[in-house]
């Protein structure tokens, strides 16, 4: 049945004489296999050598801190709403006096959990975050023996102050340029206050 003028019959089931004596085809196949013997190996020896992930790879999450070391997350719940696998839960807390160096805003995530067994690493939480707080990274979630161990709390998710996770390659050039603008950062007044305080102390 022909519906268009673009069709072309591609399968020819008639064997020619050369094809009927199948030895040439066998030799040809053998030749191809042998020629691959002398080519560069494409496999990598995994545990010793690791494949390089793309900078935008969607692996284990990180909760970012700002340049002063305070947690960025304000527990707005957007990541939990955006999550199609319903893997994220959180509880909010209110920042008390004297905790300004710990939490960036007045509200923060007192408890933040991602169930890595539910998570499908779609990256929608990262896209939903309005505070640059949650990012996926190119790290792979390690295996565990117990189901409970896959529920990652803040202890595993928040980056360490002295061991930051670089996510600048995931961000668009526009965002990076924006972040360099003086006076256009989040809570710029608050950051200024902090710096002036520390200056006056010293």
């Amino acid at each position: 049945m022909q519906l268009t003028t673009r069709s072309k019959v591609v399968s020819n089931k008639q064997l020619s004489f050369a094809e009927r004596i199948y030895l040439p085809a066998l030799l040809k196949g053998m030749f191809i296999t042998l020629s691959h013997l002398f080519k560069k190996k494409v496999t990598i020896l995994y545990p010793e050598v690791k494949r390089e992930h793309a900078p935008v790879y969607r692996g284990q999450h990180v909760l970012k801190r700002d340049e002063n070391g305070a947690e960025r997350c304000t527990s707005c719940g957007m990541c939990a709403v955006a999550c199609p696998a319903e893997a994220i839960t959180m509880e909010s807390g209110e920042r008390k006096k004297g905790e300004e160096h710990l939490y960036r805003e007045e509200k923060y995530a007192a408890k933040y959990e991602i169930n890595m067994l539910r998570c499908i690493f779609c990256g929608l939480c990262e896209e939903a975050c309005p505070k640059e707080a949650i990012f996926l990274t190119d790290r792979i979630v390690p295996t565990e023996f117990e189901r409970e161990d896959f529920i990652y709390g803040k202890d595993k998710l928040v980056e360490l102050v002295d061991k930051r996770v670089d996510v600048s390659k995931r961000q668009t050039p526009e965002v990076l340029a924006f972040k360099k603008l003086e006076g256009m950062r989040h809570n710029v007044l608050y950051t200024k206050k902090l710096t002036t305080k520390s200056e006056s102390k010293s």
Partner: protein, 404 residues
């Protein structure tokens, strides 16, 4: 019955009675490439009857989709035909775009075409090399699979994932592709024909392979149409139906390509049709790269496309829209649409009814493999068991599309 006689088989009138033996092919059989169960009635080596079981992977996607905002349904479509996830993603995006009547810029459409054709090549690589694998030729499988990895590298550099891509957004691409991506695509287009030729040298005109696959699991065009086959399996039967030509979407009318058809719908035809389709896909990618228009990579859709992050961080208006879109609180028109794309295995359709709420009222996926699998018992009746294995792998039935 007395205790003594229960141990004695009563002699029948015809002492050599014909009996069929029952064989469970699957659910987890290494040769079926997925969770398929077929309860076969075997007459020796010949299949007398087959009863397929559908529903081993039932994930209730259509029901799940009724409780998800539109953007969150994309990761569900990833898992339909997971061998060519980007086609599913983009089919879904185009369905929503049809509902909200969005105009997509040419550049975004061309970029989508490139991704969809790469995904088609990856899908066909899996199917064709596995036919080789099932007929006992592992060589081609090993060599051509390297190129599937390269396609996945391209996907990874665009969206960050290899298999379940969640690529693209409603309205277009979220960001411009980097230089690495373009380089990799150009490299792939340059390298792949050589590898494909090598693969064809191994199998295409090899008499052993031809003897094995010709007249194995055939289906006539009439029967295929009755079962509503689409895609390569219908084209192998000789009907040149291709959604890309019949109802062009995403600028497919701009590209020149031929529709390969077979003659009798057997395994060899399916193999050859897929082989030629890979070449055609490659030529489409080349045309798209050559004529790539300039412009924006996404449509101007403030109600659906997330505003750029730097604006979200600084402007009130953008932040409000950001919250509204993520929570799925933007207005969506009422109505029902059907949109279909040419998936790796055939017409992948999305039937969407919207009642104006934040989630679809009803969403139905037209899964091509679900249809093939229903024709499968009829195709394998009267054939040998080993032919049944090749027939299934040549139809490329993906278990992810069977959960209806």
């Amino acid at each position: 019955m007395s205790k003594k006689s229960s141990h004695i088989i009563p002699p029948s009138i015809n002492s050599i009675e014909k009996e069929y033996s029952t064989l469970n092919l699957g659910p987890t059989h290494p040769a079926t490439h997925g969770i398929f169960q077929n309860v076969l009635q075997m007459d020796g080596e010949i299949i007398h009857d087959a009863i397929p079981t559908i529903g081993y992977i039932h994930r209730a996607f259509e029901k799940l989709a009724e409780r998800r905002p539109y953007a969150q349904i994309t990761p569900l479509t990833d898992r339909l035909n997971y061998c060519s996830a980007p086609i599913n993603n983009m089919g879904w995006h185009m369905t929503v775009e049809k509902l909200i009547k969005a105009e997509i810029p040419k550049r975004a459409e061309y970029m989508r075409v490139i991704i969809m054709e790469l995904a088609r090549i990856a899908d066909h690589i899996i199917c064709n090399t596995i036919i080789g694998q099932d007929t006992g030729a592992t060589t081609g499988f090993l060599y051509l699979f390297q190129y599937r990895e390269k396609i996945y590298d391209i996907f990874e550099s665009i969206c960050g994932a290899r298999l379940t891509t969640n690529i693209c957004r409603i309205g277009g691409f979220d960001k411009e592709w980097g230089k690495v991506t373009w380089d990799r695509i150009h490299q792939f287009v340059a390298d792949f024909p050589k590898a494909l030729d090598e693969f064809n040298n191994l199998l295409e005109r090899n008499r052993i392979f031809m003897d094995r696959t010709i007249n194995c699991g055939p289906i006539t065009a009439e029967k295929a149409l009755e079962y509503s086959f689409t895609g390569p399996n219908l084209r192998a039967a000789g009907v040149d139906y291709d959604v890309r030509v019949a109802t062009p979407y995403s600028s497919y009318s701009d590209f020149e390509f031929i529709i390969p058809v077979g003659t009798s719908g057997d395994t060899y035809d399916r193999f050859m049709v897929r082989n030629e389709e890979m070449k055609q896909s490659l030529s489409i990618i080349k045309q798209a790269l050559k004529n790539m228009p300039d412009g924006k990579t996404h449509a101007d859709l403030p109600d659906f496309f997330l505003p750029p992050k730097e604006k979200v961080y600084s402007e009130m208006e953008a932040l409000i829209y950001h919250f509204k879109i993520v929570m799925g609180e933007t207005d969506i028109p009422k109505g029902e649409v059907y949109h279909s794309v040419e998936g790796g295995n055939g017409e992948l359709g999305f039937y969407l009814i919207s009642d104006g709420g934040r989630t679809p009222y009803r969403l139905h996926f037209r899964r091509p493999c679900f249809i093939y699998y229903q024709a499968y018992p009829e195709m394998i009746k009267g054939t040998m068991l080993s032919d049944a294995i090749i027939t299934m792998s040549s139809m490329n039935v993906i278990a992810g599309e069977l959960d209806a």
